[in-house]
Protein backbone atom coordinates (compact mmCIF):
# COMPACT_ATOMS: atom_id res chain seq x y z
CA UNK A 1 0.00 0.00 0.00
CA UNK A 2 1.07 3.59 -0.55
CA UNK A 3 1.54 4.15 3.15
CA UNK A 4 0.68 7.47 4.72
CA UNK A 5 4.16 7.86 6.18
CA UNK A 6 5.76 8.11 2.73
CA UNK A 7 7.24 11.60 2.53
CA UNK A 8 6.08 12.24 -1.03
CA UNK A 9 2.49 11.08 -1.37
CA UNK A 10 2.48 11.75 -5.11
CA UNK A 11 5.25 9.27 -5.91
CA UNK A 12 4.10 6.22 -7.90
CA UNK A 13 5.38 2.67 -7.68
CA UNK A 14 7.02 1.32 -10.81
CA UNK A 15 5.36 -1.67 -12.43
CA UNK A 16 6.15 -3.75 -15.50
CA UNK A 17 3.52 -4.58 -18.09
CA UNK A 18 3.32 -8.38 -17.95
CA UNK A 19 0.43 -8.94 -20.32
CA UNK A 20 -1.62 -6.95 -22.82
CA UNK A 21 -5.14 -8.13 -23.61
CA UNK A 22 -7.34 -6.45 -26.20
CA UNK A 23 -10.90 -6.69 -24.94
CA UNK A 24 -12.57 -4.73 -27.74
CA UNK A 25 -11.15 -2.60 -30.55
CA UNK A 26 -10.63 0.25 -28.08
CA UNK A 27 -10.63 -1.35 -24.63
CA UNK A 28 -7.42 -2.88 -23.37
CA UNK A 29 -6.45 -4.71 -20.19
CA UNK A 30 -2.92 -4.46 -18.81
CA UNK A 31 -1.54 -6.88 -16.26
CA UNK A 32 1.06 -5.14 -14.09
CA UNK A 33 3.71 -6.56 -11.81
CA UNK A 34 5.47 -4.38 -9.22
CA UNK A 35 9.17 -4.00 -9.99
CA UNK A 36 10.14 -3.82 -6.32
CA UNK A 37 10.16 -7.34 -4.95
CA UNK A 38 9.10 -6.33 -1.49
CA UNK A 39 6.08 -4.39 -2.75
CA UNK A 40 5.22 -7.27 -5.09
CA UNK A 41 5.09 -9.58 -2.07
CA UNK A 42 3.31 -7.28 0.35
CA UNK A 43 0.97 -5.17 -1.79
CA UNK A 44 -2.66 -5.68 -0.91
CA UNK A 45 -5.91 -3.95 -1.70
CA UNK A 46 -9.65 -4.51 -1.42
CA UNK A 47 -12.16 -5.00 -4.21
CA UNK A 48 -13.61 -1.65 -5.24
CA UNK A 49 -10.47 0.43 -4.70
CA UNK A 50 -8.94 2.51 -7.46
CA UNK A 51 -5.52 3.86 -8.40
CA UNK A 52 -3.71 6.48 -10.46
CA UNK A 53 -1.89 4.85 -13.37
CA UNK A 54 0.83 6.81 -15.10
CA UNK A 55 2.25 6.91 -18.56
CA UNK A 56 5.39 8.92 -17.92
CA UNK A 57 5.36 12.05 -20.02
CA UNK A 58 1.58 11.99 -20.53
CA UNK A 59 0.38 11.96 -16.93
CA UNK A 60 -1.91 9.95 -14.70
CA UNK A 61 -5.35 8.46 -15.27
CA UNK A 62 -7.77 7.07 -12.71
CA UNK A 63 -9.17 3.53 -13.04
CA UNK A 64 -10.40 0.92 -10.64
CA UNK A 65 -8.21 -2.08 -9.93
CA UNK A 66 -9.94 -4.63 -12.14
CA UNK A 67 -8.29 -7.78 -10.84
CA UNK A 68 -9.28 -9.57 -7.66
CA UNK A 69 -7.40 -9.07 -4.38
CA UNK A 70 -7.41 -12.87 -4.10
CA UNK A 71 -5.07 -13.10 -7.10
CA UNK A 72 -1.72 -12.10 -5.65
CA UNK A 73 1.40 -10.96 -7.45
CA UNK A 74 -0.17 -8.72 -10.04
CA UNK A 75 -2.87 -6.14 -10.64
CA UNK A 76 -4.90 -5.43 -13.74
CA UNK A 77 -6.58 -2.38 -15.15
CA UNK A 78 -8.90 -2.09 -18.13
CA UNK A 79 -9.43 1.15 -19.97
CA UNK A 80 -10.77 2.65 -23.14
CA UNK A 81 -8.39 4.86 -25.11
CA UNK A 82 -10.12 8.21 -25.13
CA UNK A 83 -7.58 10.76 -23.93
CA UNK A 84 -3.95 11.74 -23.82
CA UNK A 85 -2.95 9.41 -20.98
CA UNK A 86 -4.97 6.41 -22.13
CA UNK A 87 -3.61 6.78 -25.67
CA UNK A 88 -0.11 6.62 -24.21
CA UNK A 89 -0.96 3.69 -21.95
CA UNK A 90 -2.23 1.91 -25.03
CA UNK A 91 1.18 2.18 -26.65
CA UNK A 92 2.81 0.24 -23.82
CA UNK A 93 4.05 -3.23 -24.65
CA UNK A 94 4.97 -6.22 -22.53
CA UNK A 95 8.09 -5.34 -20.54
CA UNK A 96 7.46 -1.59 -20.53
CA UNK A 97 7.38 0.36 -17.26
CA UNK A 98 4.27 2.03 -15.96
CA UNK A 99 3.49 4.00 -12.79
CA UNK A 100 0.94 2.96 -10.18
CA UNK A 101 -0.21 5.05 -7.24
CA UNK A 102 -2.72 3.48 -4.87
CA UNK A 103 -4.80 1.72 -3.75
CA UNK A 104 -7.15 4.55 -2.87
CA UNK A 105 -10.73 4.98 -1.75
CA UNK A 106 -13.11 2.77 0.16
CA UNK A 107 -14.13 -0.71 -1.00
CA UNK A 108 -17.02 -3.13 -1.14
CA UNK A 109 -17.81 -4.33 2.39
CA UNK A 110 -17.41 -7.92 1.18
CA UNK A 111 -17.48 -9.43 4.66
CA UNK A 112 -21.02 -8.07 5.03
CA UNK A 113 -21.98 -9.95 1.86
CA UNK A 114 -20.95 -13.37 3.21
CA UNK A 115 -23.89 -15.78 3.20
CA UNK A 116 -25.85 -13.71 0.70
CA UNK A 117 -26.82 -14.08 -2.94
CA UNK A 118 -25.02 -11.71 -5.28
CA UNK A 119 -26.48 -10.07 -8.37
CA UNK A 120 -24.04 -8.17 -10.60
CA UNK A 121 -25.49 -5.83 -13.22
CA UNK A 122 -23.07 -4.17 -15.63
CA UNK A 123 -23.12 -2.37 -18.93
CA UNK A 124 -20.35 -1.89 -21.49
CA UNK A 125 -16.97 -0.79 -20.19
CA UNK A 126 -18.32 -0.71 -16.61
CA UNK A 127 -17.68 -4.39 -15.93
CA UNK A 128 -14.11 -3.88 -14.53
CA UNK A 129 -15.23 -2.36 -11.17
CA UNK A 130 -17.50 -5.40 -10.70
CA UNK A 131 -15.10 -7.97 -12.14
CA UNK A 132 -12.73 -7.44 -9.19
CA UNK A 133 -15.55 -8.37 -6.82
CA UNK A 134 -16.94 -11.16 -9.03
CA UNK A 135 -13.61 -12.99 -8.93
CA UNK A 136 -13.20 -12.17 -5.26
CA UNK A 137 -16.57 -13.88 -4.63
CA UNK A 138 -15.81 -16.80 -6.97
CA UNK A 139 -12.47 -17.38 -5.25
CA UNK A 140 -14.35 -17.58 -1.94
CA UNK A 141 -17.28 -19.35 -3.56
CA UNK A 142 -18.60 -21.19 -0.49
CA UNK A 143 -19.07 -17.91 1.37
CA UNK A 144 -21.82 -16.80 -1.01
CA UNK A 145 -25.23 -18.01 -2.12
CA UNK A 146 -26.36 -17.75 -5.75
CA UNK A 147 -24.23 -15.59 -8.02
CA UNK A 148 -26.00 -13.98 -10.96
CA UNK A 149 -24.31 -11.75 -13.53
CA UNK A 150 -26.35 -9.67 -15.96
CA UNK A 151 -23.98 -8.05 -18.41
CA UNK A 152 -24.76 -6.20 -21.59
CA UNK A 153 -23.18 -3.98 -24.19
CA UNK A 154 -24.29 -2.26 -27.35
CA UNK A 155 -22.95 -4.99 -29.57
CA UNK A 156 -21.09 -8.27 -29.26
CA UNK A 157 -17.80 -6.56 -30.11
CA UNK A 158 -18.22 -4.20 -27.14
CA UNK A 159 -18.39 -6.95 -24.50
CA UNK A 160 -15.23 -6.99 -22.40
CA UNK A 161 -13.55 -10.00 -20.73
CA UNK A 162 -14.92 -12.39 -23.37
CA UNK A 163 -12.76 -15.29 -22.15
CA UNK A 164 -14.11 -14.84 -18.67
CA UNK A 165 -17.71 -14.55 -19.86
CA UNK A 166 -17.16 -17.93 -21.50
CA UNK A 167 -15.80 -19.32 -18.23
CA UNK A 168 -18.68 -17.94 -16.17
CA UNK A 169 -21.16 -19.30 -18.70
CA UNK A 170 -19.67 -22.76 -18.35
CA UNK A 171 -19.58 -22.75 -14.55
CA UNK A 172 -22.48 -24.45 -12.82
CA UNK A 173 -22.19 -22.16 -9.78
CA UNK A 174 -22.67 -18.92 -11.73
CA UNK A 175 -25.68 -17.73 -13.68
CA UNK A 176 -24.48 -15.47 -16.50
CA UNK A 177 -27.08 -13.60 -18.51
CA UNK A 178 -25.40 -11.71 -21.31
CA UNK A 179 -27.18 -9.39 -23.63
CA UNK A 180 -26.63 -6.92 -26.43
CA UNK A 181 -28.77 -3.98 -27.43
CA UNK A 182 -31.26 -4.65 -30.25
CA UNK A 183 -29.31 -4.69 -33.49
CA UNK A 184 -26.02 -5.45 -31.74
CA UNK A 185 -26.28 -9.21 -32.25
CA UNK A 186 -24.50 -11.12 -34.97
CA UNK A 187 -25.59 -14.48 -36.46
CA UNK A 188 -23.58 -16.47 -33.88
CA UNK A 189 -24.93 -14.62 -30.83
CA UNK A 190 -26.05 -17.03 -28.11
CA UNK A 191 -27.17 -14.48 -25.51
CA UNK A 192 -30.15 -12.25 -25.03
CA UNK A 193 -31.11 -9.23 -27.10
CA UNK A 194 -32.37 -6.21 -25.13
CA UNK A 195 -31.27 -3.41 -22.86
CA UNK A 196 -29.76 -4.36 -19.50
CA UNK A 197 -32.65 -3.07 -17.32
CA UNK A 198 -35.18 -5.05 -19.42
CA UNK A 199 -33.11 -8.21 -19.28
CA UNK A 200 -32.60 -7.77 -15.54
CA UNK A 201 -36.35 -7.56 -15.06
CA UNK A 202 -36.81 -10.68 -17.16
CA UNK A 203 -34.08 -12.50 -15.19
CA UNK A 204 -35.91 -11.49 -12.02
CA UNK A 205 -33.40 -12.41 -9.31
CA UNK A 206 -34.96 -12.70 -5.87
CA UNK A 207 -34.25 -9.80 -3.54
CA UNK A 208 -34.41 -12.13 -0.56
CA UNK A 209 -31.03 -12.10 1.24
CA UNK A 210 -29.44 -10.64 -1.89
CA UNK A 211 -26.99 -7.82 -2.65
CA UNK A 212 -27.17 -6.12 -6.06
CA UNK A 213 -24.13 -4.39 -7.53
CA UNK A 214 -24.69 -2.09 -10.47
CA UNK A 215 -22.15 -0.43 -12.73
CA UNK A 216 -22.75 1.17 -16.05
CA UNK A 217 -23.34 4.36 -17.95
CA UNK A 218 -25.59 6.86 -16.13
CA UNK A 219 -28.51 6.07 -18.45
CA UNK A 220 -28.31 2.36 -17.62
CA UNK A 221 -28.15 3.05 -13.88
CA UNK A 222 -31.11 5.41 -14.16
CA UNK A 223 -33.30 2.67 -15.63
CA UNK A 224 -31.84 -0.19 -13.58
CA UNK A 225 -32.52 1.21 -10.11
CA UNK A 226 -36.33 1.27 -10.58
CA UNK A 227 -36.21 -2.33 -11.83
CA UNK A 228 -34.35 -3.41 -8.70
CA UNK A 229 -36.89 -1.55 -6.62
CA UNK A 230 -39.68 -3.38 -8.41
CA UNK A 231 -37.94 -6.69 -7.71
CA UNK A 232 -38.04 -5.80 -4.01
CA UNK A 233 -34.51 -4.56 -3.43
CA UNK A 234 -34.16 -1.82 -0.83
CA UNK A 235 -31.68 1.00 -1.41
CA UNK A 236 -29.41 -0.49 1.25
CA UNK A 237 -29.14 -3.72 -0.75
CA UNK A 238 -27.91 -1.96 -3.90
CA UNK A 239 -24.30 -0.85 -4.43
CA UNK A 240 -22.60 1.06 -7.20
CA UNK A 241 -19.32 2.85 -7.82
CA UNK A 242 -19.03 6.47 -8.88
CA UNK A 243 -16.43 7.87 -11.19
CA UNK A 244 -15.50 11.52 -11.32
CA UNK A 245 -12.45 13.18 -12.78
CA UNK A 246 -9.63 12.98 -10.24
CA UNK A 247 -6.05 14.08 -10.03
CA UNK A 248 -4.67 13.33 -6.57
CA UNK A 249 -6.94 10.52 -5.37
CA UNK A 250 -6.06 11.69 -1.85
CA UNK A 251 -8.80 14.14 -0.91
CA UNK A 252 -6.87 17.31 -1.71
CA UNK A 253 -7.04 18.44 -5.33
CA UNK A 254 -10.72 19.34 -5.06
CA UNK A 255 -12.45 18.12 -8.24
CA UNK A 256 -14.14 14.76 -7.62
CA UNK A 257 -16.65 16.02 -5.08
CA UNK A 258 -20.37 15.37 -5.43
CA UNK A 259 -21.71 18.01 -3.08
CA UNK A 260 -19.64 17.55 0.08
CA UNK A 261 -18.87 13.91 -0.70
CA UNK A 262 -15.40 13.21 -2.03
CA UNK A 263 -15.55 10.27 -4.44
CA UNK A 264 -11.83 9.59 -3.84
CA UNK A 265 -12.13 9.35 -0.06
CA UNK A 266 -15.77 8.66 0.78
CA UNK A 267 -16.18 6.44 -2.30
CA UNK A 268 -15.95 5.19 -4.97
CA UNK A 269 -18.32 2.52 -3.58
CA UNK A 270 -21.71 3.80 -2.44
CA UNK A 271 -25.11 2.28 -1.70
CA UNK A 272 -28.10 3.43 -3.72
CA UNK A 273 -29.32 5.00 -0.49
CA UNK A 274 -26.19 7.15 -0.31
CA UNK A 275 -26.40 8.03 -4.00
CA UNK A 276 -29.99 9.17 -3.67
CA UNK A 277 -29.01 11.52 -0.83
CA UNK A 278 -26.43 13.25 -3.05
CA UNK A 279 -27.04 16.25 -5.28
CA UNK A 280 -27.02 15.50 -9.02
CA UNK A 281 -23.37 16.26 -9.66
CA UNK A 282 -21.97 13.05 -11.16
Amino acid sequence: MCDTTNTNIYLPYLTTVAEVIDETPDVRTLRLVFQDEQIRNTFSFRAGQFAEYSAFGAGEATFCIASSPTRRGYIECSFRSVGRVTEELRRLEVGDSMGFRGPYGNSYPIEEFYGKNMVFVAGGIALPPLRTLIWNCLDLRDKFGDITIVYGARAEADLVYKRELQEWQERADVRLVKTVDPGGNGPEWDGKVGFVPTILEETAPSAENTIALVCGPPIMIKFTLPVLEKLGFSDEQVYTTLENRMKCGLGKCGRCNVGNVYVCKDGPVFTAKQIKAMPMEF
Partner: protein, 337 residues
Amino acid sequence: MQKYISEQNLNTLIDTLIAAGTRVVAPRMSAGIPLYEPLENSAEMIIDQLPRRSAKEAFFPVCEEIMSYEKEGQQVKINDVDPSRFPETVLVGVRPCDAAAIPVLDAVFSWDYKDEFFLERRRKTTIIGLACTAADDACFCTAVGLSPAETRGSDLFLTPLNGGGYACQSYSEKGEALITTNSNLFSELNNAAPLPLAAPQADKIDLKKVKSWLDGHFEDPLWDGIAVRCVGCGACAFVCPACHCFDIVDEGTEKAGKRRKSWDACGFWKFTHHASGHNPRDLQPKRYRNRIMHKFKYYDDKFGQTLCTGCGRCVRICPVGIDIAAIVEEISNKEIS
Protein backbone atom coordinates in the same frame (compact mmCIF):
# COMPACT_ATOMS: atom_id res chain seq x y z
CA MET B 1 4.84 40.69 26.33
CA GLN B 2 4.78 43.27 23.55
CA LYS B 3 8.08 44.56 22.18
CA TYR B 4 8.98 47.47 19.99
CA ILE B 5 10.86 47.31 16.70
CA SER B 6 11.71 50.36 14.59
CA GLU B 7 11.34 50.34 10.82
CA GLN B 8 15.10 50.52 10.52
CA ASN B 9 15.58 47.55 12.83
CA LEU B 10 12.98 45.56 10.92
CA ASN B 11 15.08 46.18 7.81
CA THR B 12 18.19 45.13 9.70
CA LEU B 13 16.40 41.97 10.84
CA ILE B 14 15.52 41.17 7.22
CA ASP B 15 19.04 41.78 5.97
CA THR B 16 20.52 39.76 8.84
CA LEU B 17 18.23 36.84 8.03
CA ILE B 18 19.07 37.02 4.32
CA ALA B 19 22.79 37.15 5.10
CA ALA B 20 22.39 34.03 7.24
CA GLY B 21 20.84 32.17 4.29
CA THR B 22 17.19 32.44 5.31
CA ARG B 23 14.68 33.04 2.53
CA VAL B 24 12.76 36.22 3.36
CA VAL B 25 9.47 36.66 1.50
CA ALA B 26 7.66 40.00 1.64
CA PRO B 27 5.61 42.34 -0.54
CA ARG B 28 7.89 43.35 -3.40
CA MET B 29 7.38 44.95 -6.80
CA SER B 30 7.59 42.27 -9.47
CA ALA B 31 7.35 43.56 -13.04
CA GLY B 32 5.11 46.38 -11.83
CA ILE B 33 2.90 44.15 -9.70
CA PRO B 34 3.21 43.87 -5.91
CA LEU B 35 3.65 40.19 -4.97
CA TYR B 36 4.89 38.23 -1.97
CA GLU B 37 8.31 37.25 -3.29
CA PRO B 38 11.77 36.42 -1.93
CA LEU B 39 13.74 39.59 -1.23
CA GLU B 40 17.34 40.18 -2.15
CA ASN B 41 17.53 42.87 0.52
CA SER B 42 15.23 44.86 2.77
CA ALA B 43 15.18 47.87 0.42
CA GLU B 44 13.01 45.84 -1.98
CA MET B 45 10.23 45.49 0.55
CA ILE B 46 7.08 47.56 -0.03
CA ILE B 47 5.35 46.67 3.21
CA ASP B 48 2.54 49.19 2.75
CA GLN B 49 1.24 47.63 -0.46
CA LEU B 50 -1.23 44.76 -0.59
CA PRO B 51 0.22 42.09 -2.90
CA ARG B 52 -1.91 41.13 -5.90
CA ARG B 53 -1.77 37.45 -5.00
CA SER B 54 -1.97 35.99 -1.51
CA ALA B 55 0.80 34.62 0.69
CA LYS B 56 -0.29 30.99 0.11
CA GLU B 57 2.25 30.54 -2.65
CA ALA B 58 5.07 30.59 -0.09
CA PHE B 59 3.70 27.16 0.93
CA PHE B 60 1.81 26.08 -2.17
CA PRO B 61 3.59 27.45 -5.24
CA VAL B 62 1.77 28.24 -8.49
CA CYS B 63 3.59 25.29 -10.01
CA GLU B 64 6.09 22.89 -8.47
CA GLU B 65 7.90 19.72 -9.39
CA ILE B 66 6.76 16.67 -7.44
CA MET B 67 9.00 14.13 -9.23
CA SER B 68 10.91 13.61 -12.43
CA TYR B 69 11.36 10.59 -14.67
CA GLU B 70 13.99 9.31 -17.06
CA LYS B 71 13.36 6.58 -19.60
CA GLU B 72 15.96 4.18 -20.94
CA GLY B 73 14.51 1.52 -23.21
CA GLN B 74 11.72 -0.19 -21.28
CA GLN B 75 13.03 1.02 -17.93
CA VAL B 76 11.93 4.15 -16.12
CA LYS B 77 13.81 5.82 -13.30
CA ILE B 78 11.80 8.02 -10.93
CA ASN B 79 13.58 10.80 -9.08
CA ASP B 80 11.91 11.91 -5.88
CA VAL B 81 11.78 15.55 -4.89
CA ASP B 82 12.84 15.65 -1.29
CA PRO B 83 10.68 18.18 0.58
CA SER B 84 13.38 18.47 3.25
CA ARG B 85 15.36 20.63 0.79
CA PHE B 86 12.93 23.53 1.27
CA PRO B 87 14.71 26.53 2.83
CA GLU B 88 14.04 28.12 6.19
CA THR B 89 11.78 31.05 5.40
CA VAL B 90 10.48 34.16 7.13
CA LEU B 91 7.40 35.82 5.68
CA VAL B 92 7.26 39.53 6.50
CA GLY B 93 4.36 41.94 6.30
CA VAL B 94 1.65 39.35 5.79
CA ARG B 95 -1.84 40.85 5.88
CA PRO B 96 -4.17 39.38 8.53
CA CYS B 97 -6.49 38.04 5.80
CA ASP B 98 -3.56 36.20 4.20
CA ALA B 99 -2.07 34.89 7.45
CA ALA B 100 -5.46 33.67 8.68
CA ALA B 101 -5.87 31.56 5.53
CA ILE B 102 -2.73 29.50 6.20
CA PRO B 103 -4.10 27.53 9.20
CA VAL B 104 -7.25 27.00 7.14
CA LEU B 105 -5.13 25.34 4.44
CA ASP B 106 -3.37 23.18 7.05
CA ALA B 107 -6.60 21.22 7.36
CA VAL B 108 -6.77 19.97 3.78
CA PHE B 109 -3.06 19.35 3.31
CA SER B 110 -2.64 17.46 6.60
CA TRP B 111 -5.81 15.37 6.93
CA ASP B 112 -5.33 11.68 6.13
CA TYR B 113 -2.48 11.69 3.62
CA LYS B 114 0.10 14.34 4.48
CA ASP B 115 1.20 16.68 1.70
CA GLU B 116 4.79 17.28 2.76
CA PHE B 117 5.30 19.85 0.00
CA PHE B 118 2.95 22.12 1.93
CA LEU B 119 3.64 20.88 5.46
CA GLU B 120 7.43 20.93 5.33
CA ARG B 121 7.37 24.53 4.08
CA ARG B 122 4.90 25.28 6.86
CA ARG B 123 7.24 23.86 9.49
CA LYS B 124 10.15 25.84 8.10
CA THR B 125 8.36 29.17 7.82
CA THR B 126 7.85 31.92 10.39
CA ILE B 127 5.03 34.32 9.59
CA ILE B 128 5.31 37.96 10.62
CA GLY B 129 1.84 39.43 10.28
CA LEU B 130 1.07 43.10 9.92
CA ALA B 131 -2.05 44.89 11.19
CA CYS B 132 -3.90 46.48 8.34
CA THR B 133 -4.15 50.26 8.27
CA ALA B 134 -5.78 50.73 4.86
CA ALA B 135 -8.89 49.05 3.48
CA ASP B 136 -10.55 49.58 0.13
CA ASP B 137 -14.12 49.02 -1.05
CA ALA B 138 -13.41 45.36 -1.78
CA CYS B 139 -12.11 44.45 1.68
CA PHE B 140 -14.57 42.40 3.75
CA CYS B 141 -12.55 40.59 6.45
CA THR B 142 -14.96 42.01 9.01
CA ALA B 143 -17.87 40.35 7.19
CA VAL B 144 -16.41 36.86 7.67
CA GLY B 145 -15.57 37.35 11.34
CA LEU B 146 -11.94 38.50 11.02
CA SER B 147 -10.48 41.96 11.46
CA PRO B 148 -7.55 44.19 10.41
CA ALA B 149 -5.92 43.17 13.72
CA GLU B 150 -6.54 39.41 13.36
CA THR B 151 -3.48 37.51 14.58
CA ARG B 152 -4.52 33.98 13.58
CA GLY B 153 -1.77 32.38 11.51
CA SER B 154 0.91 34.85 12.57
CA ASP B 155 3.91 33.79 14.63
CA LEU B 156 4.81 37.43 15.23
CA PHE B 157 2.38 40.26 14.74
CA LEU B 158 3.33 43.86 14.00
CA THR B 159 1.07 46.81 14.73
CA PRO B 160 2.21 50.10 13.14
CA LEU B 161 2.61 52.88 15.70
CA ASN B 162 1.91 56.53 15.50
CA GLY B 163 5.33 58.13 15.11
CA GLY B 164 6.88 55.12 13.37
CA GLY B 165 7.93 51.59 14.20
CA TYR B 166 5.82 48.67 15.30
CA ALA B 167 4.46 47.06 18.40
CA CYS B 168 5.45 43.42 18.13
CA GLN B 169 3.68 40.51 19.80
CA SER B 170 4.72 36.87 19.56
CA TYR B 171 2.07 34.16 19.18
CA SER B 172 4.19 31.02 18.87
CA GLU B 173 7.51 29.46 19.77
CA LYS B 174 8.76 30.30 16.29
CA GLY B 175 7.87 33.94 16.82
CA GLU B 176 9.43 33.95 20.28
CA ALA B 177 12.62 32.40 18.88
CA LEU B 178 12.93 35.12 16.26
CA ILE B 179 12.82 37.78 18.96
CA THR B 180 15.24 35.93 21.24
CA THR B 181 17.88 35.37 18.56
CA ASN B 182 17.66 39.01 17.44
CA SER B 183 16.98 40.59 20.81
CA ASN B 184 19.27 43.57 20.11
CA LEU B 185 16.79 44.77 17.45
CA PHE B 186 13.80 44.77 19.79
CA SER B 187 13.25 47.05 22.76
CA GLU B 188 10.62 47.69 25.39
CA LEU B 189 7.41 49.06 24.00
CA ASN B 190 6.92 52.70 24.89
CA ASN B 191 3.46 54.14 25.20
CA ALA B 192 3.12 55.25 21.56
CA ALA B 193 -0.40 54.80 20.25
CA PRO B 194 -1.05 52.43 17.36
CA LEU B 195 -1.98 53.95 14.04
CA PRO B 196 -5.71 53.80 13.37
CA LEU B 197 -6.57 50.41 11.91
CA ALA B 198 -8.30 49.94 8.61
CA ALA B 199 -12.06 49.98 8.80
CA PRO B 200 -13.61 47.80 6.11
CA GLN B 201 -17.19 48.85 5.46
CA ALA B 202 -18.58 45.32 5.40
CA ASP B 203 -20.93 44.37 8.23
CA LYS B 204 -20.52 40.99 9.87
CA ILE B 205 -22.35 38.24 8.00
CA ASP B 206 -23.96 35.37 9.89
CA LEU B 207 -21.97 32.53 8.30
CA LYS B 208 -23.96 29.88 10.17
CA LYS B 209 -27.08 31.21 8.52
CA VAL B 210 -25.35 31.21 5.14
CA LYS B 211 -24.39 27.58 5.63
CA SER B 212 -27.89 26.63 6.73
CA TRP B 213 -29.28 28.08 3.52
CA LEU B 214 -26.62 26.38 1.41
CA ASP B 215 -27.40 23.04 3.11
CA GLY B 216 -30.81 23.07 1.50
CA HIS B 217 -30.30 24.94 -1.77
CA PHE B 218 -28.02 22.99 -4.07
CA GLU B 219 -30.74 23.60 -6.64
CA ASP B 220 -31.81 27.24 -6.59
CA PRO B 221 -32.48 29.99 -9.14
CA LEU B 222 -29.81 32.06 -7.39
CA TRP B 223 -27.03 30.10 -9.10
CA ASP B 224 -28.18 30.91 -12.61
CA GLY B 225 -28.63 34.54 -11.70
CA ILE B 226 -25.21 35.19 -10.19
CA ALA B 227 -23.17 33.10 -12.58
CA VAL B 228 -24.64 34.28 -15.85
CA ARG B 229 -21.87 36.87 -16.12
CA CYS B 230 -19.03 34.56 -15.07
CA VAL B 231 -16.60 33.95 -17.93
CA GLY B 232 -14.82 31.10 -16.12
CA CYS B 233 -11.41 32.77 -16.22
CA GLY B 234 -10.39 31.33 -12.85
CA ALA B 235 -8.72 34.56 -11.71
CA CYS B 236 -10.72 34.53 -8.45
CA ALA B 237 -9.21 31.18 -7.46
CA PHE B 238 -5.70 32.21 -8.41
CA VAL B 239 -5.67 35.33 -6.23
CA CYS B 240 -7.54 33.66 -3.36
CA PRO B 241 -5.58 32.97 -0.15
CA ALA B 242 -7.70 29.87 0.60
CA CYS B 243 -8.38 28.24 -2.79
CA HIS B 244 -6.18 25.18 -3.05
CA CYS B 245 -7.44 23.04 -5.92
CA PHE B 246 -4.63 21.72 -8.08
CA ASP B 247 -3.81 19.76 -11.18
CA ILE B 248 -1.07 17.17 -11.67
CA VAL B 249 0.56 17.19 -15.10
CA ASP B 250 3.57 15.69 -16.82
CA GLU B 251 5.83 17.95 -18.81
CA GLY B 252 8.61 16.41 -20.82
CA THR B 253 9.56 14.24 -23.66
CA GLU B 254 9.62 10.56 -24.43
CA LYS B 255 13.01 10.42 -22.69
CA ALA B 256 12.72 12.56 -19.59
CA GLY B 257 10.52 15.06 -17.87
CA LYS B 258 8.92 16.32 -14.72
CA ARG B 259 5.62 15.75 -13.00
CA ARG B 260 4.21 18.96 -11.60
CA LYS B 261 1.48 20.03 -9.26
CA SER B 262 -0.03 23.36 -10.29
CA TRP B 263 -2.89 25.62 -9.29
CA ASP B 264 -6.24 24.86 -10.86
CA ALA B 265 -9.70 26.39 -10.54
CA CYS B 266 -13.20 24.97 -10.22
CA GLY B 267 -14.38 27.70 -12.59
CA PHE B 268 -12.71 25.96 -15.51
CA TRP B 269 -14.87 23.75 -17.70
CA LYS B 270 -12.13 21.18 -17.99
CA PHE B 271 -11.73 20.88 -14.22
CA THR B 272 -14.38 18.17 -13.95
CA HIS B 273 -14.58 17.07 -17.59
CA HIS B 274 -14.47 13.27 -17.93
CA ALA B 275 -12.49 11.61 -20.70
CA SER B 276 -15.81 10.12 -21.84
CA GLY B 277 -17.09 13.61 -22.67
CA HIS B 278 -19.45 13.73 -19.69
CA ASN B 279 -19.08 16.75 -17.40
CA PRO B 280 -20.96 16.89 -14.09
CA ARG B 281 -20.37 20.66 -13.95
CA ASP B 282 -20.96 21.39 -17.60
CA LEU B 283 -22.35 24.90 -17.13
CA GLN B 284 -20.86 27.96 -15.44
CA PRO B 285 -23.62 28.30 -12.79
CA LYS B 286 -22.80 24.77 -11.59
CA ARG B 287 -19.14 25.69 -11.36
CA TYR B 288 -19.80 28.97 -9.55
CA ARG B 289 -22.12 27.14 -7.18
CA ASN B 290 -19.26 24.79 -6.34
CA ARG B 291 -17.06 27.77 -5.55
CA ILE B 292 -19.56 29.19 -3.05
CA MET B 293 -20.51 25.78 -1.67
CA HIS B 294 -16.88 24.74 -1.17
CA LYS B 295 -16.02 27.94 0.66
CA PHE B 296 -19.08 28.31 2.88
CA LYS B 297 -20.45 24.77 3.24
CA TYR B 298 -18.30 21.80 2.10
CA TYR B 299 -15.10 22.94 3.84
CA ASP B 300 -17.12 23.69 6.94
CA ASP B 301 -18.81 20.25 6.75
CA LYS B 302 -15.43 18.57 6.54
CA PHE B 303 -13.07 20.74 8.58
CA GLY B 304 -15.29 23.14 10.51
CA GLN B 305 -13.76 26.16 8.80
CA THR B 306 -14.72 28.75 6.21
CA LEU B 307 -12.62 28.90 3.08
CA CYS B 308 -12.72 32.69 2.80
CA THR B 309 -10.93 35.35 4.84
CA GLY B 310 -12.47 38.40 3.18
CA CYS B 311 -9.30 39.68 1.49
CA GLY B 312 -11.39 41.03 -1.38
CA ARG B 313 -8.91 40.06 -4.09
CA CYS B 314 -11.47 38.10 -6.11
CA VAL B 315 -13.76 41.11 -6.03
CA ARG B 316 -10.98 43.42 -7.25
CA ILE B 317 -9.80 41.13 -10.04
CA CYS B 318 -13.06 39.78 -11.46
CA PRO B 319 -13.32 41.04 -15.05
CA VAL B 320 -17.12 41.07 -14.89
CA GLY B 321 -17.52 42.49 -11.40
CA ILE B 322 -18.80 39.49 -9.48
CA ASP B 323 -18.74 40.33 -5.78
CA ILE B 324 -18.60 37.28 -3.53
CA ALA B 325 -19.22 39.38 -0.42
CA ALA B 326 -22.44 40.72 -1.87
CA ILE B 327 -23.54 37.21 -2.84
CA VAL B 328 -22.85 35.79 0.60
CA GLU B 329 -24.63 38.73 2.18
CA GLU B 330 -27.61 38.15 -0.11
CA ILE B 331 -27.67 34.49 0.96
CA SER B 332 -27.50 35.49 4.62
CA ASN B 333 -30.62 37.59 4.14
CA LYS B 334 -32.67 34.76 2.67
CA GLU B 335 -35.48 33.10 4.52
CA ILE B 336 -34.48 29.61 5.57
CA SER B 337 -37.29 27.24 4.79
